[in-house]
Chain length 167, copies 2
DNA sequence: TATTGTTATACTCTATAACTATA
DNA sequence: TATAGTTATAGAGTATAACAATA
């Protein structure tokens, strides 16, 4: 993996404050994400989208429908089918029928899937703790709070651009 | 594009503070990046890696070697070759010889490339200003400062894992 | 021998659109 | 007609490894 020398080169004008902030935000998330992806690949032979799908299912022991997964993971339906197929083939998740709608499935973690996710989540948590160990708890709080404003603003923009509210 | 409902579902344990911060950071950067990528595609028929490569060259009017681009963009050499080939084919960048080393090239923006980048950069800047318009200047400063700590810590970790200093 | 850059290849992730089956 | 999910396809983005030319 190369060193991130100069991604911030994109900043160049009178709105340099926002640009520099964005490029720094992007660099931070890329650096952390690269380590997480590499770790998932090397230690668990899996990928971030697969981990994220399993994380959603761990939160919803009763299972989630394909459409719900698609929404929550911010990807289109075909991708969820592909990732789910892989996980089904490995016995980590299963598709169950939905009462009253024979078109739909609930996708749920199997026992093996739950155990496998627990092992990955423990390691994942350690990577993240390491990534932020340089910051005081007060800094963590402040960052979380400020990023909350940023996140809410993005959601507002998306809602305005694409008035497709959450069911 | 779907709404990012519940990516923060990954957080689940006693280190919830770090996990929630990480997932929020990731969500923010994904939301902004998706809009930037979509805009570059729709309005300029280009991609983020191409934009980033041109941004590096704009900063270095004398040109950069392929290896330097690879380092700065955090991708491996083959990718830089591919992106550069596209941009050369469109007349936006050019490869020039390097005195004293016939293996290497300098890659440089052409006049057309410079003009094309200027138009994209103006629009890009507006997307980013919009993305952060909900925050007070004071918040922007604070975020920038805190993310500076995060970034530095990631660089320290990478330097420790991969002692491959910048030439 | 090491380095610069290219080529070839493969894999993951993604979006789009056409499709099947149910509703 | 509309919806849930699948399939097929194409393209972006990436890494790896083998290679040619030069140092």
């Amino acid at each position: 993996m190369n060193a991130p020398l100069d991604l911030e080169a994109r900043a160049h004008s009178e709105h340099a404050q926002e640009l520099r902030l964005w490029l720094r935000l992007l660099t931070c998330s890329q650096l952390i994400e690269k380590r997480v992806r590499a770790g998932l690949r090397e230690q668990f032979d899996t990928t971030l989208p697969r981990f994220d799908l399993m994380a959603q299912l761990e939160r919803h022991p009763e299972g989630l429908k394909m459409k719900e997964l698609s929404h929550r993971l911010m990807v289109t339906g075909g991708n969820v089918t592909g990732i789910t197929d892989q996980l089904v083939a490995e016995g980590l998740v299963e598709r169950l029928g939905v009462d009253g709608d024979r078109r739909a499935f609930r996708v749920r973690l199997t026992g093996r899937g739950h155990a496998a996710f627990a092992a990955m989540a423990t390691q994942h948590e350690q990577w993240i703790v390491d990534a932020f160990e340089g910051l005081a708890p007060r800094d963590l709080d402040q960052l979380h709070r400020l990023l909350g404003k940023v996140k809410q603003h993005q959601l507002d923009i998306n809602a305005r651009l694409d008035p497709d509210p959450i069911e």
